[in-house]
């Protein structure tokens, strides 16, 4: 292979020759070459980046023709992101103060990105789905169901009618990181139905009031 000719190897050919060439050492000093090879190796190892960028796939809703029209959603949790990484949320439908239906006005509750804040809240509100998925993964572990079945059932559980729906809204003081963190937390907490939507003016007033308090 990469063996260089040594003295006896060359001697075999020249057996029948009368004239013998002057015996030169055919061994080349390979040290500089090897040095260079390792130098290059180190360089490429150091500079190569293995990790490709990771992404999060998300669908955004199309622009609705009628912005004021509220969508009726069951089991909806609305998050409003504001300045200094604060999150406000309310559960269910939004009722402005002095509404026609005579319902009490919606009040915002404040939470944060800590484990006892958002994570706990989401797990609590999404209990049904989390339990269903935990049960499925138990079944997967003991090989009661195949992994493709597991995936299908998990998607079904997340898209279930009774599953939690989350609406994400952000005001002008929120940063992009907040939204990504929130979506990430939703993924961790098995919330399958979520959408990033525009804020209503009434909500904006509430958040501004809550922020200045």
């Amino acid at each position: 292979m990469a063996e260089v000719n040594t003295g006896d190897g060359g001697g075999g050919h020249g057996k029948h020759d009368k004239k013998r060439a002057k015996k030169l050492s055919t061994r080349i000093d390979m040290t500089p070459m090897v040095d260079l090879a390792f130098l290059l190796l180190t360089f490429f190892v150091m500079t190569s980046t293995f990790n490709k960028a990771k992404t999060m796939e998300i669908n955004f809703p199309a622009d609705e023709p009628d912005k004021e029209k509220q969508q009726k959603v069951n089991n909806a949790l609305t998050f409003i992101m504001s300045k200094d990484n604060s999150i406000y949320y309310y559960y269910g439908e939004f009722f402005p103060a002095n509404n026609k239906n005579g319902k009490p006005a919606t009040e915002l509750t404040k939470t944060d990105f800590s484990k006892d804040g958002l994570h706990k809240l989401l797990l609590d509100k999404n209990k049904g789905t989390v339990e269903a998925i935990n049960k499925l993964s138990e079944q997967l572990k003991i090989r009661e169901i195949a992994d493709t079945t597991y995936k299908r059932l998990a998607v079904n559980a997340k898209g279930d009618k009774t599953a939690l729906t989350v609406l994400i809204k952000a005001d002008d003081k929120a940063v992009y990181k907040n939204v990504i963190d929130l979506i990430d937390e939703l993924n961790v907490c098995q919330v399958g139905k979520y959408a990033v939507v525009d804020m209503m003016p009434a909500e904006f007033e509430l958040v501004t009031a809550a922020g200045t308090k």
Binding site: F44, F60, D171, K177
Partner: protein, 218 residues
């Protein structure tokens, strides 16, 4: 008494296998290494637990922390034909040399009328230029045009490749162009939303948001 003769060991050992391996690795790393041209903008993406890998064929819009937009298409052919279309739209003629250089560039963050000068610069000069970002106003929505033309040209390119593959009797695997958004974690969400609105106006609703991988806490 005869002296105990130590067997004379050859002090030089055969390094051939090691060298073979070293060269093999060098070759591997050289071939897998991709030339990374420096981006005109530093974007510090937020982290998430998502471990999906970004597809190869993307149209990328980067948003820096001040909300400036930068545009990139990964496929060089599509980049060049998109530039052609943009030039037509804005009555700017780009030479073949300029197109070639543009094909090898990364994200751009300059308005179309400044692009000619920007292409002329070399890589180290480009580093010093402060890009103003691509205009995204509703009056002069160049980012929207870039997206529109990029999408059309990508579809044309895919069609061309498909026809070529079919005429040669080969199977063609269509990989649609994805729309990626790489925004800085500190960018205002409203700025990102404005750019997403540009996409949704063009009936593009599905995005890949680029994030760093975060190790989940246990």
């Amino acid at each position: 008494m005869p002296k105990i003769k130590m067997p004379k060991a050859n002090p030089s050992l055969d390094m051939t296998p090691m060298v073979d391996l070293a060269f093999l690795l060098v070759t591997f790393f050289m071939l897998t290494a991709s030339v990374r041209v420096s981006e005109p903008v530093v974007v510090d993406t937020p982290s998430s637990t998502s471990d999906k890998i970004l597809p190869d064929n993307v149209l990328l819009v980067s948003i820096d922390r001040f909300g400036k937009a930068f545009f990139n298409i990964s496929n060089p052919q599509v980049r060049i034909s998109t530039l052609d279309r943009m030039g037509e739209q804005h009555k700017i003629k780009f030479t073949d040399e300029e197109k070639k250089r543009f094909g090898a560039m990364t994200s751009i963050g300059v308005p179309i009328d400044k692009l000619k000068e920007y292409i002329k610069l070399d890589d180290s000069q480009r580093q010093k230029v402060k890009s103003p970002g691509i205009p995204v106003d509703s009056l002069d929505n160049q980012l929207g045009e870039w997206i529109q033309f990029g999408r059309i040209e990508a579809a044309k390119q895919a069609r061309g490749e498909k026809d070529k593959a079919e005429s040669l009797g080969r199977e063609f695997k269509y990989e649609p162009m994805r729309f990626a958004i790489k925004a800085d974690g500190a960018a205002s969400y409203i700025a990102v939303q404005d750019i997403i609105k540009i996409f949704t106006k063009k009936d593009i609703y599905r995005f890949n948001l680029i994030t760093n991988l975060e190790q989940p806490e246990e």
